[in-house]
Symmetry: C2
Subunit: 187 residues, 2 copies
DNA sequence: TGAAAAAGTGCAACGACTCCACTTTTCTAT
DNA sequence: ATAGAAAAGTGGAGTCGTTGCACTTTTTCA
């Protein structure tokens, strides 16, 4: 990797770090992009050369999550249904970093700031197509099968559904129970 | 209704009308709030006394939709399941105004403008709690039952899922099939 | 070595939105 | 009927996110 790319990565990292620190410190809305730029010692315009928006400064580690998601479907134990595998994966994501206090503050920040909630959801839902394709491939359905797409959409939506509910774990379980077994018929 | 309220409602209506006309004409991003204000012959600040944001200028008729939604559950035919009733209601909403060219332009505008898509979805999802409560009441479950909430959430999400897919009707049907019967078990 | 490409800067600008001090209109209570 | 509270509207200045442009500096590569 040449010096150019290294420097570029460095300023990008400096920006993400400064942003995280300031946002956790004062709150997202109380920090301007100019503040972040100054803390990283670059000009405001440079910030937008690296990140498409202020919100993007916080969501910089989004590449592995899709891979893990696909793997949860593809490499699930023999005999486990796809909804159940997705449920396990979702619950695992929730419990991961439950001990890390830095992570806890990060989660609290993103959930309490509307703009960040929205942005985070959008980023997360971007994996819908990939997940739907993985499910379709696994079940032998056509690649654009709407049933597979629906499952992918709803499974991803689960985290946004659980957010803000009193008992998040219970919410996730109820949602996946619905996806797995359907709405209980009356009688 | 006193003169004051009447005048207030009048300027509000004038703003909404001007906004609709201009947005349909030139596109959402090509019209500034000032343009709308001038077209309605008020100052820019007045606009924000009536509407919380530029997007809100377009979504001014949101009160009846929740009532219709609740009614679709509560007044469904004897023996019809709740997911099916919600499916019928969703499909009905889609086909309503399919003939109205003005409505078609409106839909096209909101679906092609990211900010409006997001805003419309947020407004729509606001009915989640009310719908969940209606479902819970109908089934005799506790008011905050997570299963009912999950069904409400996913049923509302259906329109956002169908949006952007090639065959919207097929997407809605696949989504509700999943909610009604669950993911088909292997074997 | 010299020139293209890319990173960064500085500035000006636009648009959404807020704040504030102020005028005008309408309501209400005496 | 009239005074005064309450609300609607105005105007302007200001903040913030975001973009565009013209320009300098650094790095790459032929």
């Amino acid at each position: 990797m040449g010096r150019r790319e290294r420097k570029k990565a460095a300023t990008r990292q400096a920006l993400a770090d400064a942003a995280l620190r300031l946002f956790l410190d004062r709150g997202f809305d109380q920090v301007s992009v100019r503040d972040v730029a100054e803390a990283a010692d670059v000009s405001t315009t440079t910030v937008f050369k690296h990140f498409p928006s202020k919100e993007a400064l916080l969501f910089d580690l989004d590449s592995d999550r899709e891979a893990a998601l696909i793997a949860a479907v593809r490499d699930r134990p023999e005999g486990m249904s796809i909804p159940r595998a997705l449920r396990e994966h979702t619950l695992r994501m929730h419990s991961d970093g439950a001990g890390d206090p830095e992570m806890a503050r990060f989660v609290e920040l993103t959930e309490s700031t509307p703009a960040l909630r929205e942005y985070g959801r959008r980023m997360w839902m971007r994996h819908e197509a990939a997940l739907a394709a993985a499910i379709a491939e696994d079940t032998g359905a056509p690649e654009d099968d709407p049933g597979c797409a629906a499952l992918a959409h709803f499974a991803l939506e689960t985290v946004s559904f659980a957010r803000g509910r009193a008992d998040a774990r219970q919410a996730v379980e109820a949602a996946f129970a619905l996806l797995e077994h359907g709405w209980p018929a009356a009688g």
